[in-house]
């Protein structure tokens, strides 16, 4: 009796104080890569404005700056994840936020005809904003890897769907053409976050939805090709078939995997706070 009570107490006891670190390596790889990119981009920008010495000294200064940014971002990432922990879902939130922000920065800049320098600044500013936003979200929103995956799925395929629909309706494919898919993908991120907060979904099921969308997007135009062959005047129909195929693929995958999450222990993360927002660090 005493032993069984002790066993139950062990199981019921709150998690040990050590913060979860299951997503630490993944977070550090992204942090290091972005820190390296920051250094290269800043060196290039400084060089453009003649703020770096010329010749070998400039190369050494650029390398030094890149070493500094890489080291600082890695060090900061290491310290924060050591101190506060980071689980898999939190790492994915920060990494996804960084990637989406970079994509937004690039698409919006190219949409408005920015040059190389504008694109570099946009990538840096959007990358910093994306990381900061990701850290704030990871610290305050408790999600599972599957929920983060679902959020990314909704965003990715809503952006892709917009691009295809615009193409089907012969939208002007220059200038701000890429802006709309980026903006709709952002709306998809918000919608995906909202949906993900209301369902428990496994990571594998979210990935199956991606595979369904991809397969549907390919199967749609392939079916028309099989029926009609390639006809130039039917280009809009092919793109329309992609637009129909993507949601059809997602719906099919959703239906076929409807019992995948049944009976599973929910993958609720351990809420290892990466940065305590209320604590005033951010």
């Amino acid at each position: 009796m005493v032993r069984s009570l002790a066993l139950l107490l062990c199981l019921a006891a709150p998690a040990a104080a050590a913060p979860a670190k299951a997503g630490r390596a993944e977070a550090l790889i992204f942090t290091t890569a972005f820190g390296f990119y920051e250094g290269i981009a800043l060196s290039w920008l400084l060089d453009e404005h003649d703020l770096l010495p010329s010749g070998d000294a400039g190369v050494a200064a650029g390398a030094g700056l890149t070493l500094l940014t890489t080291g600082l971002t890695l060090g900061a990432g290491w310290w924060v994840t050591e101190e506060y922990g980071v689980n898999e879902a939190q790492a994915r939130i920060v990494n996804s936020s960084l990637i989406w922000a970079l994509l937004n920065g690039t698409m919006l800049t190219s949409g408005y005809g920015g040059d190389g320098e504008d694109a570099l600044w946009a990538s840096l500013v959007s990358g910093w904003s994306g990381q900061a936003l990701g850290i704030l979200l990871a610290a305050n929103v408790d999600r599972t890897p599957g929920q983060v995956g679902l959020m990314n799925t909704v965003a990715t395929w809503s952006g892709a769907e917009t691009a295809v629909v615009l193409g089907a309706f012969h939208a002007d494919q220059s200038g701000p053409y890429l802006t709309w898919p980026a903006l709709v993908a952002d709306a998809g991120l918000l919608a995906g976050s909202w949906i993900a907060s209301r369902v428990i979904i496994s990571d594998s099921r979210a990935r199956m939805l991606d595979l369904g969308a991809l397969a549907g997007g390919l199967a749609g135009p392939a079916a028309l090709f099989m029926l009609w062959g390639p006809e130039e005047h039917l280009q809009s129909w092919y793109l329309g078939a992609v637009a129909v195929g993507i949601p059809a693929g997602i719906a099919t995958a959703w239906y076929l995997t409807r019992d995948w999450d049944d009976g599973e222990a929910p993958e609720v993360s351990s809420r290892a706070l990466m940065v305590p927002l209320a604590g005033g660090l951010f």
């Binding site: 790889i29 890149t66 890489t70 496994s202 594998s204 990935r207 595979l211 991809l214 090709f225």
Partner: protein, 283 residues
Amino acid sequence: MRSTAVAVATTLAMAGGAHAEDAHTAEVEMASAGAFYGLALGVWSSIELDLSARPAAWVSAGTTAGGLFAGLQLVDSLDLSVGQVRLAEGAGLWAALDWVLLCGELDALGEETAWLTFGVTALAAGGALLAAHQGFDPSPGHVSLVNSGGLWAMPAGLLFGYTFHLGSGEHLPRDLLVLNLLGLGAGIGLAHAYDPSREQVLYLDAGLLAGGLGGGLLGVMIGVGTDTEEIATGLTLLGMAGGAWIALEAAGFDDGDADRAATPKRRAARKAAVTMPLWAGTW
């Protein structure tokens, strides 16, 4: 007594959930791999057979759908784990790369060898699946370690060769092939000696990446004035070694059981498989 039963039931339910998620992940990964293989095969076949668009669409759709369903069926019928699926994917990819490198070294890259690349990929993945069917069940950490070995050995070996002036660089495909095989072999050896989790291997990758970048940048700073690139390449190597060492110190290298979610049947099969000699047995 009742509390023990509740505790045991909770633990079993969580283990069951983990196993279901493991099986679903295996299904997704195998279906994706099958679909991409089928799509590539269909598109390549259509180009090579000079098919017009309509039959090409039929062929590509057929091979893609076939690959996808074959992947799902294989996971279901063989009860494959995530580690086994990744083993098959890795075997296929590395075999394809090594085959292309071999053809490149022999100046034999052409249409026929491209056809054979699909065959080699399928053969290697099939061999891995056969081993899985015989009970060989590596953990995701093991597979990740072997893949990392194959990946990192190539840049590390080239940097080593450049730093110490080994070879003229004329036989780059051969060098890459040998380095890749050595890396894969070292990974297999290490996977037999240690039981790292996938997370720990990712730490190792992060260490190698960060150390290599740090060492290389430091080498550029020091060596740029002296026109000796060997300083940069040598320090990159040292940085990689240092980064790997720090990662191993920080994360350890023996938590592999933590990332396994196996059925009792599969666990028993794995126990039998790891006792087999590496080369003399099935694997």
